[in-house]
Symmetry: C2
C-alpha cells in the first residue's frame, strides 16, 4: 500500500454505528423543528370521512387473527406513529392497524375504500419528507408485523420477503448464505424493505448495485379497493406486458400497499476496503472520481464526498466523533472510497495503484485506509453522522435539500448559495458560533450518483434565510436539468415542487394514474402529487 498513505491509529473503542434508531433518540433531545402547517401543504382537507367506533370494530374483526397488538387505539400507543423521527411532521391519527398477511391488508383497504377512510402506510418511519405519517387523522397501516422471509433462491440470489422486514435484518440473514442486500443506508437498523421500495431508497451503494428499479424483480401489492395484484415472479427476466411494479417503486404509498417483494441480491463481497482521502479543492474530487472509474471499475462500491464544513460540524456536535486525520484542521474536501470484491490481494493492488496515482499527482493530499472491520466502520460512521451533525447544528432551522444534477456540477450550488446569503448579510462561516449564527451552508453526498445533500443550518429558523434559499434552490436545480429530490422523495414536504423537475404533461399523466387506481383518494392523501 502507498507509503504516502497514513495508517489509522489503533483506536480501541469502535465508533458506534449510526442508524435511524440511534439518531431518533439523540435528535429527540434537540428542540423540535418548525412543523409544516396545513396551509403549507397547500391542500384542503376534504376527502376523508371521520372514523367511528363501528369502523374500529370492523378492523378488529379483520385482524382478530393478527395477534393482540394489531389494533392500537390508545393515544399513548398511537403517538409514535403520528410523528416522524425528525419531529418535523405530526398527524392526529387515532388508529394504527398492524396486519400480518396480504389478505388482511386487502380486507382493511376494501373496507376503508368503501367507507372513504384515508390510510397512510408506514414502514420504519425513517423518511425525511413527511411521507409516512398522517397529515390529519388518517388510519396508520403499519407493516411492522409483516416480517417473514418467504423464500430464497440460493443459485440466483433472489430473496422474497414481506414488506415489513427490516433492511439490516435481511442483510444479516443473507450474509450467512454469502449474499448481501443491494442497498444500504444510514437508517438500515429501522427502515423496512417495503418502505425502501415504496420510496425508491437510494443510499450508499447505488453506485455499484444500481437502483431498486433494477433489483426488484417482482412484487405483491394491494390496490386501494382491496384488489391483490401479483406483479411478476421472482425471475430476472419477464417480458410479458407492461411492467407495472415500477409504478409502485417510489410511489410512496399513494397507489397501493406493497405487501411482498422479490429482490435480486449480489454475492457478499469477501474483500472490502475503505479509505478516506483529503483533497485540496473540488476539481480534485472530480479527478479522483474519474480515475476511480477507470482504475477501480468493477470493484468500486462507494464514492462519497463531503466538504470541510461537514467535517467541522461532525467534530463539533457528535460525541466520540474521530477525526480520521487526528487533530488537524479540516481539509477543503474529503472522499470516502469503498471497494468490494472477491479477492483481497487483487483489490488491494488495484486500490494501492489508484491511491499512488492520486498522491503522486497531488490530487489527494492526505489519506487513511482502514485495516480492520472496526476501522472501516469508523470511517463510515464519520460519513454517516453528517446528517445528525447538521440536525444538531441547525437545531431550530436546518434547511435540507436532496438534489441531483449532472456530476460535473454537483457542488456548484454550495458556493452559489453562500454568496447569495452573504449578499444579504445572512451567511455565517463555520467558525462563527453562538446564538445569532444564521446560514451555514454545507454540502455532502453520493458523488458518483450526482446526488448532493445541501444543508443550511442556523441557530433558529429564520424566515429571511428560507426566503433567500427558496424557491431559488429549486429554480437553480431546474435550470441545471436536475432533480429537486434525488432520493428522499416528495412526501408532504416537496409535493408542491414537483413541477421543477417534471413536465406538466408528465405530472398530468401521474394524476391520471392516481385517479384510475385510487379514485376516492384514500391512499396517503395530501402528499406526493400537488393538488390539481
Amino acid at each position: 500500500m502507498s507509503s504516502l498513505l497514513r495508517r489509522l491509529g489503533s483506536a480501541t473503542a469502535p465508533l458506534r454505528l449510526v442508524t435511524a434508531a440511534t439518531i431518533t433518540k439523540q435528535v429527540a433531545l434537540a428542540p423540535t423543528f418548525s412543523r409544516l402547517s396545513v396551509a403549507q401543504t397547500n391542500r384542503a382537507y376534504s376527502s376523508g370521512k371521520k372514523l367511528t367506533e363501528e369502523d374500529v370494530k370492523v378492523f378488529r374483526e379483520i385482524l382478530k387473527e393478527a395477534g393482540p397488538v394489531s389494533v392500537l387505539t390508545d393515544s399513548a400507543d398511537v403517538e409514535g406513529f403520528n410523528e416522524d423521527w425528525m419531529r418535523k411532521f405530526r398527524g392526529q391519527s387515532q388508529l394504527v392497524l398492524k396486519p400480518k398477511t396480504t389478505q388482511q391488508v386487502s380486507e382493511i383497504l376494501k373496507y376503508a375504500n368503501q367507507r372513504q377512510l384515508a390510510v397512510v402506510t408506514q414502514g420504519g418511519n425513517t423518511g425525511l419528507v413527511g411521507g409516512s405519517v398522517p397529515v390529519f387523522d388518517e388510519i396508520v397501516l403499519s407493516t411492522s408485523n409483516m416480517n417473514s422471509i418467504q423464500s430464497f433462491d440460493e443459485t440466483a440470489g433472489i430473496l422474497t420477503c414481506q414488506a415489513g422486514c427490516i433492511l439490516e435484518v435481511l442483510d444479516g440473514w443473507l450474509a450467512e448464505k454469502g449474499y448481501a442486500m443491494p442497498l444500504d443506508l444510514g437508517a438500515k437498523g429501522t427502515c423496512q424493505i417495503g418502505g425502501n421500495v415504496a420510496t425508491n431508497a437510494g443510499g450508499l451503494r447505488l453506485l455499484r448495485y444500481g437502483s431498486l428499479h433494477g433489483t426488484v424483480l417482482s412484487m405483491e401489492i394491494v390496490k386501494a379497493d382491496g384488489t391483490i395484484m401479483k406483479l411478476g415472479q421472482p425471475l430476472r427476466k419477464d417480458n410479458t406486458g407492461y411492467d407495472l411494479k415500477h409504478l409502485f417503486i417510489g410511489s410512496e404509498g399513494t397507489l397501493g400497499v406493497i405487501t411482498s417483494v422479490s429482490i435480486l441480491t449480489p454475492r457478499k463481497p469477501t474483500a472490502v476496503n475503505v479509505a478516506v482521502l483529503a483533497l485540496p479543492d473540488f476539481a480534485a474530487v472530480q479527478k479522483a472520481f474519474k480515475l476511480a472509474r477507470t482504475n477501480l471499475t468493477e470493484i468500486l462500491s462507494a464514492f462519497e464526498f463531503w466538504d470541510s464544513a461537514c467535517a467541522s460540524l461532525v467534530l463539533t456536535h457528535i460525541a466520540n466523533a474521530r477525526n480520521p486525520f487526528d487533530s488537524e484542521a479540516p481539509h477543503p474536501f474529503y472522499v470516502l472510497i469503498e471497494t468490494s470484491g472477491s479477492n483481497t490481494e487483487h483489490d488491494t493492488e488495484k486500490l494501492s495503484a489508484y491511491l499512488d496515482t492520486l498522491f503522486e499527482s497531488s490530487v489527494a493530499t492526505d489519506g487513511v485506509l482502514a485495516e480492520s472491520e472496526t476501522q472501516r466502520q469508523q470511517l463510515w460512521a464519520f460519513r454517516e453522522s453528517i446528517p445528525e451533525a447538521c440536525a444538531k447544528d441547525g437545531a431550530g432551522g436546518n434547511l435540507k435539500y436532496d438534489i441531483s444534477v449532472p456530476v460535473e456540477q454537483i457542488y456548484e450550488i454550495v458556493p452559489v448559495m453562500r454568496k447569495r446569503l452573504e449578499a444579504k448579510g445572512l451567511y455565517d462561516a463555520i467558525e462563527n458560533v453562538g446564538e445569532k449564527r444564521t446560514g451555514r451552508v454545507v454540502g455532502f453526498g453520493h458523488f458518483g450518483d450526482g446526488n448532493l445533500h445541501l444543508n443550511i443550518t442556523g441557530a433558529a429558523w429564520d424566515k429571511d434565510v428560507e426566503d433567500t434559499v427558496e424557491p431559488f434552490v429549486y429554480e437553480w436545480v431546474q435550470s441545471n436539468d436536475g432533480s429537486i429530490s434525488a432520493e428522499h422523495g416528495l412526501g408532504v414536504m416537496k409535493a408542491p415542487y414537483i413541477g421543477y423537475s417534471k413536465s406538466p404533461e408528465a405530472v398530468a399523466a401521474m394524476h391520471e394514474i392516481k385517479k384510475m387506481w385510487d379514485p376516492k383518494g384514500i391512499l396517503n392523501p395530501y402528499k406526493f402529487l400537488p393538488s390539481n
Copy 2:
C-alpha cells in the same frame, strides 16, 4: 492458466460475426415460415380507418423538411417494412413514414389519432414475435432517420441519443471514449436502441449490467394523441413522482413512440476473457455457475450454455462453423464464460483458479480459452449462430420458445418435451436426418438469467408436433412460476398467452393503462395485450 485447458488452434480466418443483417440474408434462402393468419391472432380487425390520398398529402407536408425519402408509398419501397426478418409475419401497409424529429412524430400521431389511422413503430425490425410489422395496413413509422447522438456525459457515462441509433454504432462510438453499451445481442448490427428499449431487450450481458429498467435513465416519448412527454433527465437519481418511463420499457410501441433515451453506460472493460467448457451433464452446468458466482463474482459478464443438440445443428448448418474442440463428437453440455474487468493479470488469475477447480473436481471435462480478440469472436460466433442453425434445421417449422424459470429448473423442460414427443412417435434424435424428421428438441440460453431458448425443429411444420408442444409448454412454465416470454416480448405471436404469466388483475390493469393513453387504439393494434 490451467494445464488441463486446451488452446484454441491458431485459425487464420476469423469466423464471421453473426448479426441480424447477415442472418436475414441467409434465412431468406430458406423456405418461408408458416404465417400467422388473422384468425390465429384472435382479434377482429375493427379499429383502424382506411388511408386516403389526402392523408398521404398531410403526412408529406408534415415531413417536408425530413428529406426526400421520408414518405414511402411505392410498394417496392414499402415491402421490406411489411415483413419481419424471419419472413414469418407479413402486413400490407401502403405507407412508411420516416421522421427525423420528435416534433414530426408528434404531428404524425396527432393527425393519425384524429383520423383513427393505426400506426406501427418500427426500429431495426429484428424482433422475433411479429411486434414491429403491420398486421393489416397500419402505417409504418420507421425511426431509422432518428439517429443522432444528442449528448454524452463523460464523467457519469450517460449517453442521450435518438431512438433510431443502431446498437452497434453506439457501442463503437462509446468505445472511443472508453465506455460501452450495457446490452449486447446478436442483432446488434441492425437493431435500434429505441426498439431495444421498447422491447426491453435482454441479450448476452444482462447478467453483468442488469436490465434496461436499471440502465435507462430518462426518455422522451410521444403519446397516441401527439403529446410529447419528457420523462426524467439524464440523471442517476430522481425521486419526483411515478417513474412513468418504465411503462414504456417493454411496451412494444403500444403506449407511445419512444423518440429519445438516456442510458447509463459502463466503462469499456480493458481485460476480456472468453472460455468455452465441455461438461458431462446438466448438474455440472449448475455447479459451474455457482462456482462462477463465487470465484468470478465481479468480473463475470456472461454465462451462456447450450446442449449437444445445439452444437450438432451449428456444425451441420453453419458454413465455416468451427468446433471449439476440433473434430470430436459433441459433448453433453457447453458453457461459454466471459469475464470483463480492468486488470488482465488479476482476471486471468481468477479465471485460472476457477477453471482449475472445475477440472480438478471433474465438473468440466474439456475447455478452450480464447487468446486473442479473433478467438474470442470465434467462440461467441459459435454461441450466436445457434438461432440461425435452428432456423435452418427447422426450415419449415421451427417452434421457438423463450422462457424463464428459476435457474435450478432451467433445463428441465427439454427432456420433458423430448419424452412427450417420443411417446407420440414424434421425436427424432439429432442423428436422424432426412425429410421426414419431426421434433428435434434443443435448448440453449442465458443460464445466469434463468432464460432458456427452447427450439423444436422439424423438416416441415407439423400440426401434431405443435399440438403436442402447445399449450403444454405454456402450462409447464406457468406451473413452474416462470415467464412465457423472458426477453422476446409478446408481439402478435404471444399476446394471447399473457395469462400464463400474469394474473387477471394485472392484465386488467394493463388494459386500463392502454385505454387511458391510447383510447382509439391506434398504436400497434392487434398485439401485446389480448383483446378483451
